[in-house]
Protein backbone atom coordinates (compact mmCIF):
# COMPACT_ATOMS: atom_id res chain seq x y z
CA UNK A 1 0.00 0.00 0.00
CA UNK A 2 1.07 3.47 -0.64
CA UNK A 3 -0.03 5.61 2.25
CA UNK A 4 1.28 5.06 5.73
CA UNK A 5 -2.19 5.44 7.17
CA UNK A 6 -3.82 2.72 5.12
CA UNK A 7 -4.78 -0.52 6.71
CA UNK A 8 -4.70 -2.76 3.66
CA UNK A 9 -6.73 -3.32 0.55
CA UNK A 10 -10.31 -2.12 0.82
CA UNK A 11 -9.29 0.43 3.40
CA UNK A 12 -9.47 -1.86 6.36
CA UNK A 13 -12.85 -3.30 5.67
CA UNK A 14 -12.08 -6.00 8.14
CA UNK A 15 -11.87 -3.63 11.06
CA UNK A 16 -15.01 -1.56 11.18
CA UNK A 17 -15.32 0.70 14.12
CA UNK A 18 -11.73 0.21 15.14
CA UNK A 19 -12.14 3.52 16.88
CA UNK A 20 -15.47 2.60 18.41
CA UNK A 21 -16.20 1.04 21.74
CA UNK A 22 -14.40 -2.22 22.33
CA UNK A 23 -16.45 -3.51 25.21
CA UNK A 24 -18.39 -6.64 24.34
CA UNK A 25 -20.40 -6.73 27.51
CA UNK A 26 -23.49 -5.21 25.87
CA UNK A 27 -24.13 -2.72 28.61
CA UNK A 28 -27.09 -0.40 28.09
CA UNK A 29 -24.71 2.21 26.64
CA UNK A 30 -23.32 -0.24 24.10
CA UNK A 31 -26.78 -1.42 23.20
CA UNK A 32 -27.79 2.18 22.66
CA UNK A 33 -24.80 2.60 20.36
CA UNK A 34 -25.69 -0.51 18.38
CA UNK A 35 -29.21 0.79 17.97
CA UNK A 36 -27.86 4.12 16.73
CA UNK A 37 -25.58 2.36 14.25
CA UNK A 38 -28.46 0.34 12.81
CA UNK A 39 -30.59 3.45 12.63
CA UNK A 40 -27.87 5.31 10.70
CA UNK A 41 -27.20 2.43 8.33
CA UNK A 42 -30.86 1.58 7.78
CA UNK A 43 -31.87 4.31 5.27
CA UNK A 44 -29.01 3.43 2.96
CA UNK A 45 -29.47 -0.32 3.34
CA UNK A 46 -33.20 -0.10 2.60
CA UNK A 47 -32.69 1.86 -0.63
CA UNK A 48 -29.70 -0.35 -1.45
CA UNK A 49 -31.79 -3.49 -1.07
CA UNK A 50 -34.72 -2.08 -3.04
CA UNK A 51 -32.70 -0.63 -5.92
CA UNK A 52 -29.86 -3.12 -6.19
CA UNK A 53 -30.62 -6.43 -4.54
CA UNK A 54 -34.31 -6.78 -5.40
CA UNK A 55 -33.85 -5.94 -9.13
CA UNK A 56 -31.05 -8.47 -9.43
CA UNK A 57 -33.09 -11.16 -7.67
CA UNK A 58 -36.12 -10.31 -9.78
CA UNK A 59 -34.10 -10.44 -13.00
CA UNK A 60 -32.65 -13.78 -11.95
CA UNK A 61 -36.18 -15.02 -11.33
CA UNK A 62 -37.52 -13.70 -14.65
CA UNK A 63 -34.62 -15.24 -16.52
CA UNK A 64 -35.88 -18.70 -15.57
CA UNK A 65 -39.14 -18.27 -17.47
CA UNK A 66 -40.33 -17.95 -21.02
CA UNK A 67 -43.28 -15.90 -22.23
CA UNK A 68 -45.30 -17.44 -25.02
CA UNK A 69 -48.33 -16.22 -26.90
CA UNK A 70 -49.95 -19.55 -26.31
CA UNK A 71 -49.73 -20.83 -22.75
CA UNK A 72 -48.35 -17.65 -21.16
CA UNK A 73 -45.40 -17.75 -18.79
CA UNK A 74 -43.75 -21.09 -18.28
CA UNK A 75 -40.75 -22.17 -16.22
CA UNK A 76 -37.83 -23.17 -18.44
CA UNK A 77 -35.00 -23.49 -15.92
CA UNK A 78 -31.66 -22.44 -17.32
CA UNK A 79 -32.80 -22.61 -20.96
CA UNK A 80 -32.40 -18.84 -21.48
CA UNK A 81 -28.80 -19.05 -20.26
CA UNK A 82 -28.11 -22.00 -22.54
CA UNK A 83 -29.59 -19.99 -25.39
CA UNK A 84 -27.40 -16.97 -24.55
CA UNK A 85 -24.23 -19.07 -24.40
CA UNK A 86 -25.00 -20.49 -27.83
CA UNK A 87 -26.21 -17.16 -29.25
CA UNK A 88 -23.72 -16.02 -31.87
CA UNK A 89 -25.00 -12.41 -31.76
CA UNK A 90 -24.30 -12.22 -28.03
CA UNK A 91 -20.98 -14.03 -28.46
CA UNK A 92 -19.81 -11.63 -31.17
CA UNK A 93 -20.71 -8.67 -28.98
CA UNK A 94 -18.71 -10.10 -26.07
CA UNK A 95 -15.75 -10.77 -28.36
CA UNK A 96 -15.98 -7.26 -29.79
CA UNK A 97 -15.89 -5.54 -26.38
CA UNK A 98 -13.10 -7.90 -25.33
CA UNK A 99 -11.09 -6.81 -28.35
CA UNK A 100 -11.97 -3.21 -27.50
CA UNK A 101 -10.79 -3.73 -23.94
CA UNK A 102 -7.53 -5.45 -24.84
CA UNK A 103 -6.49 -2.59 -27.14
CA UNK A 104 -8.09 0.52 -25.66
CA UNK A 105 -7.51 0.04 -21.93
CA UNK A 106 -3.69 -0.35 -22.12
CA UNK A 107 -3.42 2.68 -24.43
CA UNK A 108 -5.65 4.85 -22.25
CA UNK A 109 -4.09 3.82 -18.94
CA UNK A 110 -0.56 3.98 -20.36
CA UNK A 111 -1.11 7.55 -21.51
CA UNK A 112 -2.79 8.46 -18.23
CA UNK A 113 0.21 7.08 -16.34
CA UNK A 114 2.67 9.04 -18.51
CA UNK A 115 0.74 12.26 -17.90
CA UNK A 116 0.51 11.54 -14.17
CA UNK A 117 4.27 10.90 -13.96
CA UNK A 118 5.00 14.06 -15.95
CA UNK A 119 2.82 16.10 -13.58
CA UNK A 120 4.33 14.45 -10.52
CA UNK A 121 7.89 15.09 -11.70
CA UNK A 122 7.30 18.78 -11.00
CA UNK A 123 9.22 19.68 -14.14
CA UNK A 124 6.33 21.11 -16.13
CA UNK A 125 5.67 24.76 -16.70
CA UNK A 126 1.93 25.59 -16.62
CA UNK A 127 1.25 22.48 -14.52
CA UNK A 128 -2.22 23.53 -13.46
CA UNK A 129 -3.29 24.38 -16.99
CA UNK A 130 -2.07 21.01 -18.25
CA UNK A 131 -3.85 19.13 -15.50
CA UNK A 132 -7.14 20.92 -16.00
CA UNK A 133 -7.03 20.62 -19.80
CA UNK A 134 -6.58 16.87 -19.65
CA UNK A 135 -9.21 16.44 -16.94
CA UNK A 136 -11.77 18.69 -18.65
CA UNK A 137 -13.23 16.06 -21.05
CA UNK A 138 -14.38 14.12 -17.98
CA UNK A 139 -16.80 17.01 -17.31
CA UNK A 140 -18.44 16.40 -20.67
CA UNK A 141 -21.34 13.91 -20.55
CA UNK A 142 -20.72 10.87 -22.73
CA UNK A 143 -23.78 11.80 -24.78
CA UNK A 144 -22.33 15.18 -25.69
CA UNK A 145 -18.84 13.74 -26.20
CA UNK A 146 -20.23 11.19 -28.64
CA UNK A 147 -22.37 13.71 -30.50
CA UNK A 148 -19.33 15.95 -30.80
CA UNK A 149 -16.96 13.26 -32.01
CA UNK A 150 -19.68 11.92 -34.30
CA UNK A 151 -19.84 15.29 -36.03
CA UNK A 152 -16.05 15.55 -36.11
CA UNK A 153 -15.86 12.11 -37.74
CA UNK A 154 -18.76 12.77 -40.08
CA UNK A 155 -18.49 13.07 -43.86
CA UNK A 156 -20.81 16.11 -44.09
CA UNK A 157 -19.17 18.85 -42.08
CA UNK A 158 -16.44 17.10 -40.09
CA UNK A 159 -13.16 19.04 -40.15
CA UNK A 160 -11.16 15.87 -40.91
CA UNK A 161 -13.16 15.39 -44.12
CA UNK A 162 -12.84 19.08 -44.92
CA UNK A 163 -9.07 19.02 -44.47
CA UNK A 164 -8.73 15.83 -46.52
CA UNK A 165 -10.79 17.36 -49.31
CA UNK A 166 -8.73 20.52 -49.18
CA UNK A 167 -5.61 18.41 -49.67
CA UNK A 168 -7.44 16.36 -52.32
CA UNK A 169 -7.03 13.19 -50.30
CA UNK A 170 -9.71 10.59 -49.68
CA UNK A 171 -11.68 11.38 -46.51
CA UNK A 172 -10.83 9.10 -43.55
CA UNK A 173 -13.79 6.69 -43.17
CA UNK A 174 -14.14 6.96 -39.39
CA UNK A 175 -17.66 5.56 -39.41
CA UNK A 176 -17.04 2.61 -41.72
CA UNK A 177 -17.28 -0.91 -40.37
CA UNK A 178 -13.52 -1.43 -40.31
CA UNK A 179 -12.80 1.88 -38.53
CA UNK A 180 -15.78 2.03 -36.17
CA UNK A 181 -14.24 0.13 -33.25
CA UNK A 182 -11.15 2.34 -33.42
CA UNK A 183 -13.33 5.45 -33.57
CA UNK A 184 -15.19 4.28 -30.46
CA UNK A 185 -11.89 3.57 -28.70
CA UNK A 186 -10.83 7.12 -29.41
CA UNK A 187 -14.00 8.60 -27.90
CA UNK A 188 -13.64 6.56 -24.71
CA UNK A 189 -9.94 7.37 -24.48
CA UNK A 190 -10.66 11.07 -24.86
CA UNK A 191 -13.32 10.92 -22.16
CA UNK A 192 -11.38 8.99 -19.54
CA UNK A 193 -7.63 9.68 -19.79
CA UNK A 194 -7.99 12.65 -17.46
CA UNK A 195 -10.07 10.78 -14.90
CA UNK A 196 -7.53 7.96 -14.70
CA UNK A 197 -4.66 10.41 -14.70
CA UNK A 198 -6.06 12.18 -11.63
CA UNK A 199 -6.45 8.89 -9.73
CA UNK A 200 -2.83 7.96 -10.51
CA UNK A 201 -1.54 11.46 -9.86
CA UNK A 202 -3.23 11.61 -6.46
CA UNK A 203 -1.69 8.26 -5.58
CA UNK A 204 1.75 9.43 -6.71
CA UNK A 205 1.52 12.48 -4.48
CA UNK A 206 0.90 10.22 -1.51
CA UNK A 207 4.12 8.24 -1.99
CA UNK A 208 6.48 9.26 0.82
CA UNK A 209 9.29 11.38 -0.62
CA UNK A 210 12.06 9.71 1.38
CA UNK A 211 11.50 6.65 -0.81
CA UNK A 212 13.14 8.43 -3.71
CA UNK A 213 15.62 10.54 -1.81
CA UNK A 214 17.81 7.51 -1.17
CA UNK A 215 17.57 6.41 -4.79
CA UNK A 216 18.49 9.88 -5.95
CA UNK A 217 21.52 9.92 -3.64
CA UNK A 218 22.60 6.69 -5.28
CA UNK A 219 22.47 8.51 -8.59
CA UNK A 220 19.31 6.95 -10.02
CA UNK A 221 17.78 9.01 -12.86
CA UNK A 222 14.19 10.22 -12.91
CA UNK A 223 13.12 7.55 -15.42
CA UNK A 224 14.66 4.82 -13.31
CA UNK A 225 12.93 6.22 -10.20
CA UNK A 226 9.61 6.37 -12.06
CA UNK A 227 9.94 2.78 -13.26
CA UNK A 228 11.41 1.13 -10.16
CA UNK A 229 9.86 3.15 -7.34
CA UNK A 230 6.90 5.28 -8.36
CA UNK A 231 4.99 2.81 -10.54
CA UNK A 232 5.30 -0.09 -8.07
CA UNK A 233 4.28 2.27 -5.26
CA UNK A 234 0.95 3.12 -6.88
CA UNK A 235 0.06 -0.35 -8.10
CA UNK A 236 -3.15 -0.42 -6.06
CA UNK A 237 -4.34 2.81 -7.71
CA UNK A 238 -3.43 1.43 -11.13
CA UNK A 239 -5.31 -1.76 -10.33
CA UNK A 240 -8.35 0.32 -9.46
CA UNK A 241 -8.24 2.08 -12.83
CA UNK A 242 -7.87 -1.28 -14.61
CA UNK A 243 -10.93 -2.68 -12.85
CA UNK A 244 -13.02 0.44 -13.52
CA UNK A 245 -11.98 0.32 -17.18
CA UNK A 246 -12.82 -3.37 -17.53
CA UNK A 247 -16.25 -2.78 -16.01
CA UNK A 248 -16.77 0.23 -18.27
CA UNK A 249 -15.78 -1.60 -21.44
CA UNK A 250 -18.16 -4.49 -20.91
CA UNK A 251 -20.94 -2.00 -20.23
CA UNK A 252 -20.39 -0.02 -23.46
CA UNK A 253 -23.72 1.38 -24.51
CA UNK A 254 -24.03 5.18 -24.81
CA UNK A 255 -21.36 5.68 -27.44
CA UNK A 256 -22.38 2.91 -29.88
CA UNK A 257 -26.06 3.68 -29.28
CA UNK A 258 -25.58 7.29 -30.35
CA UNK A 259 -23.25 6.55 -33.27
CA UNK A 260 -25.87 4.13 -34.53
CA UNK A 261 -27.90 7.07 -35.85
CA UNK A 262 -24.90 8.12 -37.96
CA UNK A 263 -23.93 4.64 -39.12
CA UNK A 264 -26.96 2.37 -38.85
CA UNK A 265 -25.47 -0.23 -41.16
CA UNK A 266 -22.25 -0.54 -39.18
CA UNK A 267 -23.57 -0.73 -35.63
CA UNK A 268 -26.16 -3.48 -35.49
CA UNK A 269 -28.54 -4.24 -32.67
CA UNK A 270 -26.00 -6.57 -31.01
CA UNK A 271 -22.83 -4.50 -31.49
CA UNK A 272 -22.11 -4.64 -27.76
CA UNK A 273 -23.69 -7.01 -25.19
CA UNK A 274 -25.49 -4.13 -23.48
CA UNK A 275 -26.88 -2.84 -26.76
CA UNK A 276 -28.09 -6.38 -27.38
CA UNK A 277 -29.80 -6.65 -23.98
CA UNK A 278 -31.42 -3.26 -24.56
CA UNK A 279 -32.74 -4.24 -27.98
CA UNK A 280 -33.96 -7.59 -26.71
CA UNK A 281 -35.96 -5.88 -23.99
CA UNK A 282 -37.29 -2.87 -25.89
CA UNK A 283 -37.34 -3.85 -29.57
CA UNK A 284 -37.99 -7.60 -29.46
CA UNK A 285 -39.96 -7.40 -26.19
CA UNK A 286 -38.24 -10.60 -25.11
CA UNK A 287 -37.97 -9.59 -21.45
CA UNK A 288 -37.08 -13.00 -20.07
CA UNK A 289 -34.21 -13.51 -22.44
CA UNK A 290 -33.08 -9.88 -21.92
CA UNK A 291 -33.02 -10.52 -18.17
CA UNK A 292 -30.85 -13.59 -18.69
CA UNK A 293 -28.43 -11.68 -20.93
CA UNK A 294 -28.22 -8.74 -18.50
CA UNK A 295 -27.69 -11.07 -15.58
CA UNK A 296 -25.05 -13.09 -17.41
CA UNK A 297 -23.28 -9.88 -18.33
CA UNK A 298 -23.31 -8.53 -14.75
CA UNK A 299 -22.06 -11.87 -13.43
CA UNK A 300 -19.38 -12.03 -16.12
CA UNK A 301 -18.14 -8.54 -15.28
CA UNK A 302 -18.02 -9.36 -11.58
CA UNK A 303 -15.99 -12.53 -12.30
CA UNK A 304 -13.57 -10.75 -14.64
CA UNK A 305 -12.89 -7.89 -12.22
CA UNK A 306 -12.44 -10.38 -9.39
CA UNK A 307 -9.93 -12.35 -11.45
CA UNK A 308 -8.05 -9.16 -12.36
CA UNK A 309 -7.83 -8.30 -8.68
CA UNK A 310 -6.78 -11.80 -7.67
CA UNK A 311 -4.04 -12.24 -10.26
CA UNK A 312 -2.57 -8.86 -9.49
CA UNK A 313 -2.56 -9.53 -5.76
CA UNK A 314 -0.88 -12.86 -6.35
CA UNK A 315 1.73 -11.22 -8.53
CA UNK A 316 2.32 -8.60 -5.83
CA UNK A 317 2.98 -11.30 -3.27
CA UNK A 318 5.36 -13.37 -5.38
Amino acid sequence: MTAPTTTGPAGGATAPGRAGPRRRGHSPAVRRQHRAAYLLVAPFMVVFAAMLVVPLVYAAYLSLFREQLVGGRSFVGLANYARALGDSAFGEGVLRVTLFLVIQVPIMLGLALLFALALDSGRLYAQRFVRLSIFLPYAVPSVVATLMWGYLYGPDFGPFTQIAEGLQLPAPPFLSSSWMLGSLMNILTWEFIGYNMIIMFAALRAVPADLYEAARMDGAGELRIAWSIKIPAIRSAILLTVIFSVIGSYQLFNEPNLLQTLAPNVIDSAYTPNLYAYNLAFTSQDLNYAAAVAFLLAAGIAVVSYVVQLTSQRRARS
Binding site: T5, S133, I134, I198, A203, A281
Partner: protein, 304 residues
Amino acid sequence: MTATTPAPTVEEVEPQPRPRPKGSTGRKSPLLTVLVLLTLPYFLLPLYWLVVASTKDNADLFSSFGLWFADLNLVDNLRDVFTAQGGVFWSWMGNTALYAGVAGVGAAFLATAAGYAFAKYAFPAGTLLFSVVLGAIMVPTTALAIPTYLLFAEVDLTNTRWAVILPSLVSPFGVYLMRVYAADAVPTELMEAARVDGAGEMRIFFTVALRLLAPGFITVLLFQLVATWNNYFLPLIMLSTPSKFPLTVGLAQWQSTAAGGSGAQALFSSVITGSLVSIVPLVIAFLYLQKYWQAGLATGGVKG
Protein backbone atom coordinates in the same frame (compact mmCIF):
# COMPACT_ATOMS: atom_id res chain seq x y z
CA MET B 1 -1.62 11.93 3.06
CA THR B 2 0.01 12.74 6.32
CA ALA B 3 -3.38 13.07 7.94
CA THR B 4 -2.50 12.31 11.51
CA THR B 5 -4.54 15.24 12.74
CA PRO B 6 -7.93 14.07 13.94
CA ALA B 7 -10.03 16.06 11.51
CA PRO B 8 -8.36 16.62 8.15
CA THR B 9 -9.95 19.30 6.08
CA VAL B 10 -10.18 18.82 2.35
CA GLU B 11 -7.16 21.03 1.91
CA GLU B 12 -5.17 18.56 3.93
CA VAL B 13 -6.51 15.48 2.21
CA GLU B 14 -6.17 17.08 -1.16
CA PRO B 15 -2.69 16.61 -2.54
CA GLN B 16 -2.69 19.68 -4.74
CA PRO B 17 -1.67 23.07 -3.53
CA ARG B 18 1.85 22.40 -2.34
CA PRO B 19 3.89 24.95 -4.26
CA ARG B 20 6.71 22.65 -5.24
CA PRO B 21 6.02 18.95 -5.40
CA LYS B 22 8.12 16.83 -3.14
CA GLY B 23 10.41 14.38 -4.82
CA SER B 24 11.40 16.76 -7.55
CA THR B 25 14.66 18.54 -7.93
CA GLY B 26 12.76 21.70 -8.78
CA ARG B 27 14.28 22.14 -12.19
CA LYS B 28 11.67 22.82 -14.85
CA SER B 29 12.07 21.02 -18.13
CA PRO B 30 11.16 22.98 -21.28
CA LEU B 31 11.43 19.83 -23.38
CA LEU B 32 8.96 17.86 -21.25
CA THR B 33 6.64 20.88 -21.15
CA VAL B 34 6.64 21.19 -24.93
CA LEU B 35 6.01 17.47 -25.38
CA VAL B 36 3.03 17.59 -23.03
CA LEU B 37 1.66 20.83 -24.49
CA LEU B 38 1.74 19.24 -27.95
CA THR B 39 -0.80 16.67 -26.78
CA LEU B 40 -3.26 19.22 -25.40
CA PRO B 41 -5.00 19.99 -28.73
CA TYR B 42 -6.30 16.42 -28.63
CA PHE B 43 -8.18 17.20 -25.41
CA LEU B 44 -9.23 20.75 -26.23
CA LEU B 45 -9.90 20.83 -29.99
CA PRO B 46 -13.23 18.96 -29.84
CA LEU B 47 -14.52 21.48 -27.30
CA TYR B 48 -13.15 24.36 -29.34
CA TRP B 49 -14.96 22.90 -32.37
CA LEU B 50 -18.20 22.77 -30.36
CA VAL B 51 -17.88 26.44 -29.45
CA VAL B 52 -17.15 27.43 -33.06
CA ALA B 53 -19.93 25.25 -34.46
CA SER B 54 -22.56 26.67 -32.13
CA THR B 55 -22.00 30.13 -33.61
CA LYS B 56 -22.94 28.96 -37.11
CA ASP B 57 -26.28 28.58 -38.77
CA ASN B 58 -27.09 25.28 -40.37
CA ALA B 59 -25.95 26.27 -43.88
CA ASP B 60 -22.57 27.53 -42.63
CA LEU B 61 -22.04 24.30 -40.72
CA PHE B 62 -21.86 22.53 -44.06
CA SER B 63 -20.23 25.21 -46.16
CA SER B 64 -17.58 26.75 -43.90
CA PHE B 65 -14.41 25.26 -42.40
CA GLY B 66 -15.25 23.58 -39.12
CA LEU B 67 -12.38 24.93 -37.06
CA TRP B 68 -12.92 28.58 -37.86
CA PHE B 69 -15.80 31.03 -37.47
CA ALA B 70 -18.26 32.06 -40.19
CA ASP B 71 -21.17 34.49 -39.67
CA LEU B 72 -21.90 34.73 -35.96
CA ASN B 73 -25.28 33.22 -35.35
CA LEU B 74 -25.06 32.17 -31.71
CA VAL B 75 -28.00 34.26 -30.50
CA ASP B 76 -30.33 32.87 -33.17
CA ASN B 77 -29.13 29.37 -32.38
CA LEU B 78 -29.81 29.86 -28.69
CA ARG B 79 -33.29 31.16 -29.48
CA ASP B 80 -33.93 28.12 -31.64
CA VAL B 81 -32.74 25.80 -28.87
CA PHE B 82 -34.96 27.36 -26.23
CA THR B 83 -38.09 27.78 -28.36
CA ALA B 84 -38.10 24.52 -30.34
CA GLN B 85 -41.07 22.24 -29.68
CA GLY B 86 -42.74 24.68 -27.32
CA GLY B 87 -39.60 25.29 -25.28
CA VAL B 88 -39.07 21.67 -24.29
CA PHE B 89 -35.37 22.39 -23.73
CA TRP B 90 -36.30 24.36 -20.60
CA SER B 91 -38.04 21.26 -19.22
CA TRP B 92 -34.99 19.13 -19.99
CA MET B 93 -32.73 21.54 -18.16
CA GLY B 94 -35.11 21.66 -15.20
CA ASN B 95 -35.39 17.87 -15.15
CA THR B 96 -31.64 17.39 -15.28
CA ALA B 97 -31.18 19.83 -12.41
CA LEU B 98 -33.95 18.13 -10.42
CA TYR B 99 -32.72 14.57 -10.98
CA ALA B 100 -29.08 15.45 -10.37
CA GLY B 101 -29.82 17.67 -7.37
CA VAL B 102 -32.13 15.25 -5.55
CA ALA B 103 -29.92 12.25 -6.34
CA GLY B 104 -26.79 14.13 -5.25
CA VAL B 105 -28.14 15.36 -1.92
CA GLY B 106 -30.03 12.14 -1.19
CA ALA B 107 -27.14 9.84 -2.04
CA ALA B 108 -24.69 11.98 -0.08
CA PHE B 109 -26.92 11.93 2.99
CA LEU B 110 -27.52 8.17 2.89
CA ALA B 111 -23.84 7.47 2.27
CA THR B 112 -22.70 9.83 5.03
CA ALA B 113 -24.95 8.30 7.68
CA ALA B 114 -24.02 4.76 6.68
CA GLY B 115 -20.29 5.44 6.23
CA TYR B 116 -20.13 7.15 9.62
CA ALA B 117 -21.86 4.25 11.32
CA PHE B 118 -19.56 1.71 9.64
CA ALA B 119 -16.51 3.71 10.69
CA LYS B 120 -17.38 4.68 14.24
CA TYR B 121 -19.52 1.86 15.67
CA ALA B 122 -18.56 -1.77 16.12
CA PHE B 123 -22.00 -3.30 15.72
CA PRO B 124 -22.70 -6.98 15.17
CA ALA B 125 -23.74 -6.92 11.49
CA GLY B 126 -21.38 -4.10 10.53
CA THR B 127 -18.63 -6.16 8.92
CA LEU B 128 -21.06 -8.28 6.93
CA LEU B 129 -23.15 -5.35 5.68
CA PHE B 130 -20.07 -3.36 4.74
CA SER B 131 -18.64 -6.29 2.74
CA VAL B 132 -21.93 -6.54 0.85
CA VAL B 133 -21.78 -2.82 0.04
CA LEU B 134 -18.14 -3.13 -1.05
CA GLY B 135 -19.04 -6.01 -3.34
CA ALA B 136 -21.77 -3.89 -4.90
CA ILE B 137 -19.21 -1.35 -6.16
CA MET B 138 -18.40 -3.97 -8.78
CA VAL B 139 -22.01 -4.35 -9.96
CA PRO B 140 -22.20 -2.64 -13.34
CA THR B 141 -24.84 0.08 -13.23
CA THR B 142 -25.82 -0.26 -16.87
CA ALA B 143 -26.36 -3.99 -16.62
CA LEU B 144 -28.45 -3.30 -13.52
CA ALA B 145 -30.70 -0.82 -15.34
CA ILE B 146 -32.66 -3.41 -17.31
CA PRO B 147 -33.50 -5.49 -14.23
CA THR B 148 -34.52 -2.26 -12.46
CA TYR B 149 -36.74 -1.39 -15.42
CA LEU B 150 -38.39 -4.81 -15.30
CA LEU B 151 -39.07 -4.38 -11.59
CA PHE B 152 -40.42 -0.83 -12.00
CA ALA B 153 -42.66 -1.96 -14.85
CA GLU B 154 -44.17 -4.47 -12.43
CA VAL B 155 -45.06 -1.74 -9.89
CA ASP B 156 -46.01 0.94 -12.46
CA LEU B 157 -43.11 3.22 -11.66
CA THR B 158 -41.80 3.51 -15.24
CA ASN B 159 -42.17 6.86 -16.97
CA THR B 160 -42.23 8.68 -13.63
CA ARG B 161 -39.57 11.00 -12.26
CA TRP B 162 -39.04 8.54 -9.37
CA ALA B 163 -37.85 5.96 -11.89
CA VAL B 164 -34.76 8.08 -12.53
CA ILE B 165 -34.27 9.42 -9.00
CA LEU B 166 -34.69 6.30 -6.84
CA PRO B 167 -31.95 4.15 -8.45
CA SER B 168 -29.60 7.16 -8.39
CA LEU B 169 -29.85 7.44 -4.60
CA VAL B 170 -27.61 4.43 -4.10
CA SER B 171 -23.89 5.04 -4.15
CA PRO B 172 -21.91 2.11 -2.71
CA PHE B 173 -18.70 3.90 -3.64
CA GLY B 174 -19.97 6.90 -1.66
CA VAL B 175 -20.44 4.74 1.43
CA TYR B 176 -16.93 3.37 1.04
CA LEU B 177 -15.54 6.87 0.62
CA MET B 178 -17.40 8.18 3.68
CA ARG B 179 -16.31 5.24 5.79
CA VAL B 180 -12.67 5.99 5.00
CA TYR B 181 -13.23 9.68 5.52
CA ALA B 182 -15.22 9.43 8.76
CA ALA B 183 -12.62 7.17 10.39
CA ASP B 184 -10.20 10.12 10.56
CA ALA B 185 -12.53 13.09 10.42
CA VAL B 186 -14.58 12.36 13.54
CA PRO B 187 -12.38 11.86 16.62
CA THR B 188 -13.71 9.15 18.90
CA GLU B 189 -12.69 11.26 21.93
CA LEU B 190 -15.04 13.97 20.74
CA MET B 191 -17.90 11.48 20.60
CA GLU B 192 -17.00 10.26 24.10
CA ALA B 193 -16.97 13.82 25.38
CA ALA B 194 -20.39 14.46 23.90
CA ARG B 195 -21.66 11.25 25.53
CA VAL B 196 -20.33 12.39 28.90
CA ASP B 197 -22.25 15.61 28.37
CA GLY B 198 -25.34 13.47 27.98
CA ALA B 199 -25.89 13.80 24.26
CA GLY B 200 -27.71 10.93 22.55
CA GLU B 201 -26.08 9.08 19.68
CA MET B 202 -28.33 10.67 17.06
CA ARG B 203 -27.66 14.08 18.48
CA ILE B 204 -23.94 13.43 18.25
CA PHE B 205 -24.32 12.55 14.61
CA PHE B 206 -26.42 15.56 13.68
CA THR B 207 -24.75 18.23 15.77
CA VAL B 208 -21.13 17.08 16.07
CA ALA B 209 -20.23 14.60 13.34
CA LEU B 210 -22.15 15.99 10.38
CA ARG B 211 -20.25 19.27 10.49
CA LEU B 212 -16.90 17.45 10.50
CA LEU B 213 -18.06 15.23 7.67
CA ALA B 214 -19.12 18.13 5.45
CA PRO B 215 -16.16 18.02 3.00
CA GLY B 216 -16.67 14.30 2.41
CA PHE B 217 -20.40 14.87 2.08
CA ILE B 218 -19.81 17.46 -0.63
CA THR B 219 -17.43 15.15 -2.49
CA VAL B 220 -20.01 12.34 -2.60
CA LEU B 221 -22.70 14.86 -3.54
CA LEU B 222 -20.64 16.11 -6.47
CA PHE B 223 -19.80 12.64 -7.74
CA GLN B 224 -23.41 11.51 -7.66
CA LEU B 225 -24.63 14.81 -9.09
CA VAL B 226 -22.37 14.51 -12.10
CA ALA B 227 -23.09 10.80 -12.54
CA THR B 228 -26.81 11.55 -12.60
CA TRP B 229 -26.37 14.66 -14.76
CA ASN B 230 -24.52 12.52 -17.31
CA ASN B 231 -26.72 9.46 -17.05
CA TYR B 232 -28.25 8.43 -20.32
CA PHE B 233 -29.13 4.74 -20.20
CA LEU B 234 -31.41 4.76 -17.17
CA PRO B 235 -33.63 7.71 -18.22
CA LEU B 236 -33.61 6.41 -21.80
CA ILE B 237 -35.22 3.14 -20.81
CA MET B 238 -37.40 4.48 -18.00
CA LEU B 239 -38.99 7.53 -19.62
CA SER B 240 -41.21 7.86 -22.66
CA THR B 241 -42.76 11.32 -22.25
CA PRO B 242 -40.42 14.00 -23.71
CA SER B 243 -41.34 16.55 -21.03
CA LYS B 244 -39.78 14.25 -18.41
CA PHE B 245 -36.51 13.72 -20.30
CA PRO B 246 -33.22 15.01 -18.95
CA LEU B 247 -30.87 16.88 -21.31
CA THR B 248 -28.94 13.79 -22.35
CA VAL B 249 -31.97 11.88 -23.61
CA GLY B 250 -33.51 14.98 -25.16
CA LEU B 251 -30.37 15.90 -27.09
CA ALA B 252 -29.96 12.32 -28.28
CA GLN B 253 -33.54 12.40 -29.53
CA TRP B 254 -32.95 15.66 -31.43
CA GLN B 255 -29.80 14.15 -32.88
CA SER B 256 -31.60 11.08 -34.19
CA THR B 257 -34.29 13.29 -35.78
CA ALA B 258 -31.62 15.50 -37.33
CA ALA B 259 -29.59 12.56 -38.62
CA GLY B 260 -32.77 10.94 -39.88
CA GLY B 261 -32.97 14.00 -42.12
CA SER B 262 -36.78 14.03 -42.27
CA GLY B 263 -36.88 17.66 -43.37
CA ALA B 264 -35.56 18.58 -39.95
CA GLN B 265 -32.01 19.44 -40.96
CA ALA B 266 -32.21 22.75 -39.16
CA LEU B 267 -31.89 20.75 -35.99
CA PHE B 268 -28.14 20.08 -36.40
CA SER B 269 -27.35 23.58 -35.22
CA SER B 270 -29.79 23.13 -32.33
CA VAL B 271 -28.19 19.83 -31.27
CA ILE B 272 -24.76 21.45 -31.31
CA THR B 273 -25.79 24.62 -29.50
CA GLY B 274 -27.87 22.62 -27.03
CA SER B 275 -24.86 20.41 -26.32
CA LEU B 276 -22.76 23.46 -25.56
CA VAL B 277 -25.43 24.89 -23.25
CA SER B 278 -25.71 21.57 -21.42
CA ILE B 279 -22.01 21.32 -20.58
CA VAL B 280 -21.44 24.92 -19.48
CA PRO B 281 -22.67 24.41 -15.88
CA LEU B 282 -20.60 21.24 -15.51
CA VAL B 283 -17.43 22.79 -16.85
CA ILE B 284 -17.81 25.71 -14.46
CA ALA B 285 -18.50 23.35 -11.57
CA PHE B 286 -15.41 21.35 -12.48
CA LEU B 287 -13.10 24.29 -12.59
CA TYR B 288 -14.34 25.77 -9.32
CA LEU B 289 -14.78 22.61 -7.29
CA GLN B 290 -11.82 20.62 -8.47
CA LYS B 291 -10.31 20.21 -5.03
CA TYR B 292 -13.29 18.06 -4.09
CA TRP B 293 -12.80 15.86 -7.14
CA GLN B 294 -9.23 15.34 -6.35
CA ALA B 295 -9.97 14.59 -2.72
CA GLY B 296 -12.52 11.97 -3.78
CA LEU B 297 -10.37 10.36 -6.42
CA ALA B 298 -7.40 10.43 -4.06
CA THR B 299 -9.32 8.53 -1.39
CA GLY B 300 -10.50 6.01 -3.94
CA GLY B 301 -7.13 5.54 -5.54
CA VAL B 302 -4.86 5.62 -2.55
CA LYS B 303 -6.91 3.59 -0.19
CA GLY B 304 -8.54 1.35 -2.78
